[in-house]
Subunit: 306 residues, 4 copies
């Protein structure tokens, strides 16, 4: 099919209190690769990603997410979406090429949920990335948990119904699944800009602009089990898992980086198509939707955000 | 992203000499569900598919594929593609709604490779299909090999370069991988209409319109191993596997239905995006591309088609 | 090596309040096979077991375990162990052949922990069981969770140090792992009579003769994940998992039968040899020992027994 | 049960033409650890083994196996088996403690098949080995294929019936499976000294004392798939697999070290007990017995030995 506009989550900038400690988490344990650094920042990627980097760790006093940037298909998409976003009465800022090494210009705006969303059309490629000539299945043997790519985020914020409208009507996302409250208003939404079961999720958290977790893709349930073995071996702080999500059907573990940002390793999930009906969860089934095996939420999951 | 036009392979009609024997293969072993039948035909689907059926088995004197039909996003796409195809000087036939139970009208034409390609916009839904309200991960417990959906086909035919041009320029497919001969001309192409690593592959086989295999999706490598156990337990005719493809990175087994049509069970494969560079194999690496572990082709794979 | 005496756990009799409901649990879900029944009892087995049955479900007013019976190598072992047990001042009862269908005579005695332990030398074989001539890997395609055999039990009771002495000195078991309290006295012991990491575990529960769980073997971590999918699909009552044990390294889920007896599905575990040193856990590491990923115990695990 | 005598395969000495190249194979790829070296020899082990080393690579002009050594339970077993072997009219040599670093004295003799068999009772421990106090599931994060231990060998030689008699009557092994020729005489035997489905196999190869393969244990089918990925990534010479054995039910790949010695990675296999009936294969089913999915032998497997 003709695929235009926003392709995928491409870059997240995460605030950490100690970059070196964070590198141990994201590189040695999670399995990403460090491709560069500058004053107070480190740039990481998964070996299955072409772009220069997909995670920027930036030293800060508080944890959390500065922004998530989505890659669009072509340069003209930036102007197209800038106009659309402005038409909503939302300000759009311009970020010059080179602010992130290897990255072209980006546009930036704040979604109704309170999160900073960015779009970019160009990024240089960096190693490791998939080979193109008679490729092996990976360019380098995986290490640690073997995370292949930055996959998606869950963002807790405000104004979920308006956020749903904004992402679907203005940014051409699709609603794959949602949780409705008793009145039928969405309190949690799983949005996809392609054929993954989700690329970003928004949950009503009462406070704007919070990060619930950044998720990285593993190969399968077996890799999720291996990730759990690593979490205990190195005494990482675990939240929950290994388990499965009812929503997206993904296999998952939640755990924390040394600054308290929640990391998810995620595998499988179903294949979404834009003609699929929306899957709807009622509020009392949310526990099963989030933690399919436990069928109940835990306090950490609901209340700990950065 | 905005996704328009051809979504996915939706239906294949396979000729079999004995429908009952074929049902044992596709239902009891592969794990599909029979949703109906009429004189000389049986209609099957995977439990992860919404549409009425994705496989039609039709009794015939010779094995092979009658047609593969792709689902488009909306009714208007049928007219749009009909005009485009006619503009190539290719005849387009109309197939009335109801020719297949539960299916709306289809358009039909012959690709340069010699295969009959169809498009449809509407199909009724049938059980089993994914639940929509507080869904479990499957509507029914999987059986047999647990095939979840009709995934893709490999079609051996003629005029591969023209077929590549037709599918990418006229039908909006993307070229994910290809094998070039010494002159740089493509002799095998892996095409996707979405984010799967491929939805259809064409290989230069010297004869138009042949079927190499119909592939069905399994969950993962473990399911591929279980499929292999079933193949031997029931003494099915195996071609090769369990192995991995270098091309698409998929996990695979090839085996044969009782009429000699090749079935593939396929899992994993990478996530494709339309901004990805094409992966190119040279002819002497084709063995590794097809059978990543064995790194050489076998005669069956090259010569047995239906 | 020459292997003599007690071979393995061979039979457990579990009290259930409703045999039909229990059959749904143990047969349809867990994947055992019903090989017979009589008034108030049903007899089940795994397809990887040769003996007539390995689980007897008996209708009763309260849940729990009536006895666990171990198979010995030969008839003379029964007399040998009867003499040894009597020499401890423990009474030994005789149970006539045929009390359980297909079973020869058994001897029965009460261990210091308060549990009824039995030994038998002969049982008829029943279907399904492994083929012997050009065998397939299973005699019948697995169903449900695919449990292959009755694997082990955890029994909560009293007098753990005396139970350890009795099982190792009198019955020739080996101590694979233990948890010591602050004084160095064992409060939990994992005993093996062969090369599995454990065949029976005893935990100090303050009350004699209680059943903590009966465990059944699955193939691997993937099968454990599939078992979890089944547990939620059919809304079975889960205790904890999927997770791993630090003790034995096994992969596990705990869940409950309709009468409240805890069932474990268990996979992997290390290979034990009688020259291996004992692995010792201190009391504050017990959480990690039991639930390796969570690294803490839950109240259910500690307090719910039958 | 009381387990006495020969416990397990403990040490194999393999001849290689280039020790450095062999270290890349056995350490970097297979996942063993080098624990020492001396002139012309390197000593390796798996992280799940306690003893000092389980593989000795020794530089030589031709590949093959110098000896396989089994660990016995206690010192007295050496004298016991020496007497038994001598009673067969077979010479027994004494090898002094320290000939292999960390090893106590060994006895050595030649089996009817033409292979040098050794026994030892004592070996020092070395790192990495399983932790004993609140152990993690591995002492170090696995690398490469993640081989956990030296598992078993297949030895091709002569006089298979006499070898079967010798190993079962004199050395207390058990016959788990065998292949009979048309006259009912065994031409291939799978022998276990414990509860693994086999510890050593002998196949009639027409020539005494040849090595078919040395096998190392992987965790499961998923690890076998990962091993296959590594084999192709590093362009190792593969023989066959990933597949399953009908005999033992193990999951397997055969590939070659740089000197041409066949290595097997092996996972799963059933749990054997000494009261199990022998599983018997007829000669025309040998293909299915060896390569369960392919159901036919290849020439390499039959003819390439070292």
């Amino acid at each position: 099919m003709a695929m235009k506009g926003i392709l995928r989550p491409g870059l997240v900038q995460i605030r950490v209190m100690d970059v070196e400690a964070a590198l141990s988490h994201y590189v040695d344990r999670l399995g990403l690769y460090k491709v560069g650094s500058d004053a107070g920042r480190a740039f990481l990627k998964g070996a299955d990603e072409f772009e220069h980097h997909s995670v920027t760790l930036v030293e800060a006093d508080t944890p959390g997410m500065d922004f998530i940037a989505f890659k669009v298909m072509e340069e003209a998409d930036l102007d197209h979406f800038e106009a659309r976003v402005r038409a909503e009465g939302i300000a759009v800022a311009h970020i010059a090429a080179g602010e992130q090494p290897g990255y072209g210009r980006r546009i930036s705006f704040v979604a109704p949920s309170g999160h900073t969303i960015q779009l970019f059309a160009h990024a240089e490629q960096s190693e490791p990335k998939p080979d193109l000539a008679n490729p092996d299945i990976w360019p380098v043997e995986p290490h640690g948990m073997g995370a292949r790519r930055f996959d998606h985020m869950q963002l807790n914020g405000v104004r979920v119904p308006e956020t749903l409208d904004f992402f679907t009507r203005v940014l051409d996302f699709y609603l794959a699944e949602k949780v409705d409250d008793e009145s039928g208003a969405p309190i949690a939404i799983w949005l996809t800009c392609g054929m993954k079961a989700h690329d970003v999720a928004f949950v009503d958290g009462g406070v704007p602009g919070r990060m619930h977790h950044a998720a990285f893709e593993l190969a399968d349930w077996n890799a999720v089990g291996h990730a759990a073995d690593i979490i205990t071996k190195y005494n990482l702080s675990i939240d929950l898992g290994p388990t499965r999500h009812g929503i997206t059907r993904g296999r998952t573990i939640y755990f924390f980086d040394p600054s308290g940002n929640r990391t998810e390793v995620f595998a499988e999930g179903y294949t979404y198509y834009p003609d699929h009906p929306v899957r709807v969860w009622d509020k009392q089934s949310l526990g099963k939707g989030i933690f399919y095996y436990q069928r109940q939420l835990n306090d950490n999951f609901m209340n700990v955000v950065t």
